[in-house]
Amino acid sequence: MKTAAYVGVSGQEKTAKVKKTRTIPPWLKGFVVPIIMLALWQYAGSAGLISETVLPTPLAILASFYELAVSGELADNMKISIARAAGGFLLGGGLGLLFGILVGFSRKTESYLDPSLQMLRTVPHLSVTPLFILWFGFDELSKVLLIALGAFFPIYINTFLGIRSVDAKLFDVARVLEFGWHHQITRLILPAALPNILLGVRLSLGIAWLGLVVAELMGSSAGVGYMIMDARQFSQTEKVFVGIIIFAVVGKLTDSFVRLLERKLLKWRSSFQGTN
């Protein structure tokens, strides 16, 4: 092997190197099982052991993905889905942040609002889907509202918690330094609550995405969910798979994005970890 040449000339060292190249690096080990599974799956499908309408082969799914991507169908549907999720998330998350701040800041608003909100929270938000369809039809409105409803609570609760958990000792400091109310908010309360708020954002995004899937599967004329339901009608199972994978990947990407945001905004928590 050419790469082994730099190790040295002695025969002993050479055998050591050869042995080393045979061991698999740890990060690769995680891929072993999926790759074997995919290979078996592909084999079983190609050999005709499994019906294609039940389980299309990985290559068929890949081909379907390519086709959808080239035709622009995938991009169009994704645009619509993402717009819905973003709209619902911004509406619900924004209100959650607003109410979280209001209730967090004042015990008075807390005693008026929090009990009702906590009561509403016990309703699993997807269970109101039929009600929303009755009220708002199969329109965009019912979808966006369903997503917003789910996105509201995690941000609300975490913002509220974050504000309430600000160290009372730092409030004393703010008093000694004569902070005005607006510095008290921008220099003390919001930064202190930010870790919680960002956690709320992450949870909310996850729920918004789930709401989107349910809303689109319930009935829609565009979007990734529609694409899935449409493909199901025509037994295009590989297209269904593409849709599911898209949901998974976009969900994961938004989560990673918020994590990145966390690392940037909260670098004061452990700046030793970053290299800056």
Partner: protein, 255 residues
Amino acid sequence: MSVLIRVEEKAFGIADKRTVVLDDIHLDINDGEFLTIIGPSGCGKSTLLKIAAGLDTEYTGSVNIHGREVKKPGISQGFIFQEHRLFPWLTVEQNIAADLNLRDPDVKAKVQELIDIVRLTGNEKAYPVELSGGMSQRVAIARALLREPEVLLLDEPFGALDAFTRKHLQDVLIDIRQQKKITMILVTHDIDESIYLGTQLAILRAKPGRLQRWLPIELPFPRNRTDTSFQYLRQKVLEEFEKTEHSAYTEGAGI
């Protein structure tokens, strides 16, 4: 007299749970003096300092600074807590500036001057997690000094630090007092520290907290702990301590 502290009585709790913590304590401190307060644990030193800062207003008596009555906390009574209490999300220079705008060249220049005084040059952009305890406490001192307080109140500011860092910060304080001529009141349980820093020393006794003894310290700066005059004063303070019934508390005296 620049700082007048009159506490007729300070008590915690109500009815039969009520305990008097401070009883008839009068302290008059001239401009530029460095008063150190020493006393057994639980005798009410922190309570007294909080009253002076305006952080505690539930007592009978009054606090006056240059004729102005102190009714709430504020920047003219700078306060250094036992723990540094920095804002973890602000860098060193942002912590010192706090609610002031660092983009103002005037503020920026003053912040930089203080960073140099507390010997933190080069650490302007560091976050508190990256600082040692002693560095953090220096940032807290700079933060208070930026507001040009009339009096600086320090509650066992170096209690949690190792002996070497403590000595260094004591010298920083002496430097600052000579440069800025700020009146300082420092609470400590370390007899050496009280003599090393103070121009005046108040010894409190416990249950209820009363002024046991007021002692001027007329040693010139810089002081040397091994001088005979230093040792003589130390002996005197120890004797005062033994007169209080809580002589067991002298183990905090260091060495």
